[in-house]
Symmetry: D3
Subunit: 136 residues, 6 copies
């Protein structure tokens, strides 16, 4: 009996969309105000979806407290109240778009999550802009 | 022309996570405060997804009023303002986790819904913890 | 590296559910108050999901500003602050149910969107009634 | 011991902003797309605030079921799935702006509500545009 | 320079509306399904409003972390994952309506909060039913 | 006939809580992770409340399009996709807490808004932390 469970957490970060191979002018043209040199920021909501069998002893797919702790250790500790461009290893050479944050978050959680579970990430940059990885 | 339609309803219930095969101590260790002996409760949101062909005469996959009535008869009448552990047949021998409530809700609706429709349940226990069944 | 990106926009329209092949009485019986002869209306939320490869130069699947502009040109310009039955070509002979609005919106956007992208529409008529096309 | 209680209900209506003393051109200039001759519409949320003493026998200021019924009888029955300009007495000679809908709703409820209660209306035309009457 | 600051927290509790001076029949008639003998439950949202002068050294009226801790110590520790009727001193002889929970929460926080601050409580029992104390 | 009208807008900014009269250590102790030297950020929601008489010719207190334009000119142009500490005059010598952003926003809008209107600002830094100025 497979069920998907979802846990929502949030973090607040500064970032700037900036391609190091381009000059400031090209970055400004491509990314517009999202490339403001002194950064801007977001309240990110991350929804982690874990799919697996219900354990009949607990009625759980996975203990939500453990899942919440895992997200806090891997994602919030790395990104919350940080400047994604300056304060993280992950985005030193990777543009911190919502797409890339979702892929990076997936990879960080995938390493820690038991192989028997499927994993999917939904990341809200704003209420109107959000992304999902992997695709279904 | 297949389309999925969604109807959201809600119900308020008390429950306790408790495995009858374990003593109180084990239940407390595994389920934490969710096993409080005198129960706690939630505002549950249930989103019922029905997939089928658009009827060209009505432009509907299914009449949302009928779907709403069906959810009220099968789910709200059984669970709303009830103690899931004490007041329902369904959770007499089944731990009322979000996962199990979703599976039970699916089975109750599946029996009543025409076979031509696909059915999926999303159940929110809180804004931050929710589940989906069957998996996609 | 495929990712899905989502953009939410909204529009406010009047409509009436009405099948021209039926008399007023049949329309009233089938559609209830949704067939009120003088129309009623909704705040529609449309969520457009675009799936494709991340462009490594931008970190984008698609520029959200371009996607937003596309939705405004194709959907909001056609439907916002309009009477769907009287003011649009699309619903001259098609009942403007949420199902049909989603299919029509998909077709309008599909023509304008690069073939390399997958497209899916979620349309909220109210917070409790919404639809998705195509189905997954 | 005075407490304020709030009950939220919603209704879906078509309307048009139109001043009968002006020609179409002036209406279009002043009200823009909100004056579309064939109407547009909204999902209105109404929050009714009632302030009074807690009844020590019930712990209630007012029975929320009674308050909900009152709102349904006075507001939803009059406005839900209606064209405010054409189908209602209240807006025959009054422009159905959010401001006027709030004042009219207040007057309709005030007549039915016991004088011992204070009453205030918050009306959401969209998530981003809303009004309150009377002012505090 | 006085500003109001708001902090939202939530807790999940079981309760039953029941007046000990009445028999079961009267309770059922007055409180309906809210008096279900085996309890039901809610996800409560509590918004605590504190009004005071901005401290020019910090730009804060009050440190939100301290306010959050205070709410957790006084409200969540007492009510979260509890049966309000059975597990709390506060509602041993007081019906746990939203009105009374708000007043009790106010009194618990008022004792702990510096006198220089004004305090107000908004308590959501559901998205559609909520209360405020004291009144403005 | 006085009514209050509300308009919600949003902006995304980076900021850092930092008192220039203190060393880094004191800032870190007082402001915690909110003082991260490389900044973090938020999606701010601002709700502007304007109170005045209904103009009987329009049914408006104020044209919401004009109010929206005013907020965009005064607040979004100054703060959206900016670093509040580095990119703005307003917070050069003022700590950009939610409290101070609300007061500054009030002062900027007050200058532009006709004296006949009352003005109040609600500013959401996160869904759980928000402020209001002036106080009621």
């Amino acid at each position: 009996m497979k069920v998907s469970v979802f846990r929502k957490e949030h973090f607040n970060s500064a970032h700037r969309l900036y391609n190091k191979d381009w000059d400031e002018e090209t970055n400004a043209r491509v990314f517009g105000k999202c490339s403001n040199p002194n950064y801007h920021g977001h309240n990110y909501d991350i929804i982690v979806k874990v799919t697996g069998e219900i354990d009949s002893r607990t009625g759980y797919v996975i203990d939500m407290k453990e899942l919440s702790t895992l997200i806090k250790e891997e994602i919030l500790q790395a990104f919350d109240h940080k400047n994604l461009n300056l304060d993280t290893e992950e985005f030193k050479d990777l543009i911190p778009t919502a797409e890339n944050i979702a892929v990076v978050s997936y990879n960080k959680l995938r390493k820690r999550l038991d192989e028997k579970f499927d994993l999917k990430i939904k990341l809200y940059e704003t209420e109107r802009n959000f992304v999902e990885y992997p695709v279904s």
